[in-house]
């Protein structure tokens, strides 16, 4: 049975990465799913565990870069046409120097969209942490959140403890 929304659940707290991996395997073997893994550092293998696709951020960066390029070139062309500085028959709309402006603005656009993308896709911009969050997740502990209905919380708690969880907390919303 798959639990769609993380209403209730169990949070297991681990001090060892190896135990954490074992717990994730055990949870998956029983047919439950892991809603989130908390860690003080990025764990590379989580991408495989959760079958995460490469971040969609790359499309946003590309889009931001193109938008910046067009904005930079557009501004340079617009400004040069507003006040036509005709010097020795040289072109008023000079693409070669404008490339520099376009390049700078393309990178600025890419950076702006990178920041927006990570905040939106990572769901970071919330300014508060969930009630079940444990401060040790930023020190040296790891957390596994398994969503399950209240009548199964005991069963999942036992499973996580067997896998090496130091502490297990029931999460209620």
């Amino acid at each position: 049975m798959r639990w769609k929304r993380p209403t209730d659940g169990v949070l297991g707290i681990f001090s060892r990465e190896e135990d954490l991996r074992g717990a994730i395997r055990s949870v998956e073997e029983t047919g439950d799913r892991v809603e989130a893994v908390f860690s003080p550092l990025p764990l590379g293998e989580m991408g495989e565990v959760f079958s995460l696709k490469p971040s969609a951020l790359r499309y946003l960066v590309l889009g931001g870069g193109l938008l910046g390029l067009l904005a930079g070139l557009g501004l340079a062309v617009f400004a040069s046409l507003q006040w036509k500085l005709d010097v020795s028959g040289k072109p008023v709309v000079a693409w070669v120097p404008f490339t520099v402006i376009g390049y700078e603005c393309a990178i600025l656009g890419g950076v702006a969209f990178t920041l927006m993308g990570v905040l939106l896709l990572g769901r970071i911009l919330r300014f508060r942490v969930p009630r079940y969050y444990d401060a040790r997740f930023t020190e040296d502990h790891f957390g596994v959140l398994v969503p399950c209905p209240s009548h199964r919380q005991e069963e999942v708690s036992t499973l996580l403890k067997t896998a090496g969880a130091e502490e297990v907390h029931e999460v209620r919303t």
Binding site: E17, A76, E104, L119, R128, V129
Partner: protein
């Protein structure tokens, strides 16, 4: 690197945020005094006009431009250390990455002050920006000065965002470590970071893109700063080698500044275990490489001046070596090209005190290098009757002192409120702990 547990990393780095001792306040006071001197000089210049500075025909670009180039190039090295080494997977950069990023932001912010100061009438800087106005006047986007303005402003934005993005997980550490008002402030700044796998997934991708974009921007900014000079026809300026020349010079001086900052930092806060001597040694090795490149570039510059057969070019370079600014040139050669070669000796590059002293001397030498580049050619242009001489006035020296004081003041404030070493990246350097038959094995254990 020596084994350090995750908890120990937190403890050691957060220890640097504890209330400081008397030496810290004395250093802060010294920097503040320097800032007051610099600010007073600037106010004096605004009141009496740009005439109080030493700049005058034919040398209209004096120390303010030298300082601009010097500081923005310090920033370049910070970005390259952090971003380029991150992209290349050099994990030894982790302990100094944060200091390098911080150095970049502060150096670029200070560099950005100098166009204001150089204008004399600083309050009309906004004329440089494109904005709709009644006269329908717009900046000339074909000018390298406008390229430079956008580059410097953009660089400040990008480097600040790069620093902040790297700080987010560490701000969450601070939030979880503190109570009361500090917790609220750090909590707000950490934006609600929990360290969930989803957040890490997008965060690592974003950090990689930031590193890539900032590297591309640094190369662009370094070249653009050089074009302020190279796109003129002044002999000694008008050279295609200026782009790489400025980039190499930037890395050279920036690495020296990084050593100047990091060596006292690790000593004062007891971070020797987290910033081992091997990291400082690697910085010194990079400086050997940049020194050799710099020697080659100097050789090419002189060779091309001779090979061109151009009388003005030849005169400019002859005067560089034997003219009125010869001692500055030879001082530069000694401090920036001969002294760093001492790093070939392992004994020199593995002694923090030696590295620290040499790094300061290199910084002074690199400032004089910019002096030789910026001032020398202007004093002896094409027309002999327009030749002149320049030496900074006490106002300019005062503002220079103020800029250095401001830089170190900002850094001192930073290290007391935010982690000067990345907690997350230090943990990434450790081997993951595993449980083997009831015992703990691994570096993080």
């Amino acid at each position: 690197m020596e084994a350090v547990s995750y908890r120990e990393i937190n403890r050691r780095i957060l220890g640097s945020l504890l209330p400081p001792g008397k030496p810290y306040y004395l250093a802060l006071l010294a920097c503040f005094s320097g800032m007051v001197i610099g600010a007073s000089c600037w106010v004096y210049q605004i009141y009496f006009g740009l005439g109080v500075a030493g700049v005058n025909h034919p040398v209209m670009w004096g120390t303010y431009l030298i300082n601009f180039v010097f500081w923005i190039e310090i920033g370049h090295a910070g970005s390259l250390t952090s971003a380029l080494l991150y992209l290349s997977g050099a994990k030894w950069r982790n302990p100094v990455g944060r200091s390098a990023e911080t150095m970049t932001v502060f150096a670029v912010a200070i560099a950005g002050l100098f166009p204001f100061i150089d204008l004399g009438r600083s309050w009309i800087l906004y004329w440089l920006w494109p904005y709709p106005n009644q006269r329908n006047l717009w900046p000339n986007f074909q000018s390298p000065l406008i390229f430079d303005e956008i580059a410097a402003a953009g660089y400040l934005i990008i480097s600040s965002l790069f620093l902040y993005t790297g700080l987010i997980p560490d701000l969450a550490v601070l939030r979880d470590h503190h109570r009361g008002v500090r917790r609220k402030i750090y909590g707000f700044l950490s934006l609600g970071w929990t360290g969930s796998h989803r957040q890490w997934h997008h965060y690592k991708t974003a950090y990689m893109f930031f590193a890539f974009l900032i590297t591309a921007f640094v190369v662009c900014v370094a070249s653009i700063v050089s074009w302020d000079f190279a796109l003129t026809i002044v002999p000694g300026y008008h050279s295609t080698i200026f782009g790489p020349y400025f980039l190499v010079g930037a890395v050279h001086s920036g690495m020296a500044m990084l050593l100047t900052l990091v060596i006292p930092l690790r000593r004062i806060f007891g971070l020797e275990k987290l910033i081992p001597i091997r990291v400082l040694e690697n910085v010194a090795k990079i400086m050997i490489f940049t020194t050799i490149l710099l020697i080659y570039i100097y050789f090419v510059e002189f060779f091309m001046a001779w090979y061109s057969g151009h009388a003005a070019e030849r005169t400019t370079f002859w005067l560089r070596v034997f003219g009125p600014y010869a001692w500055q040139f030879w001082f530069t050669v000694f401090t920036c090209m001969f002294l760093p070669l001492m790093f070939f000796f392992k004994r020199v590059r593995t002694r923090p005190m030696g590295l620290f002293v040499i790094s300061i001397v290199i910084n002074i030498g690199m400032w004089f290098e910019r002096f030789v580049i910026v001032v020398g050619p202007l004093t002896h242009d094409f027309i002999p009757y327009a030749w002149g001489h320049y030496w900074p006035s006490w106002i300019e020296w005062g503002i220079l002192l103020g800029s250095f004081s401001f830089f170190f003041f900002l850094f001192l404030i930073f290290v007391k409120f935010l982690p000067s070493v990345s907690i997350t990246e230090m943990k990434e350097m450790q081997e993951a702990p595993v449980r083997v038959e009831g015992t703990m094995k691994g570096r993080g254990a």
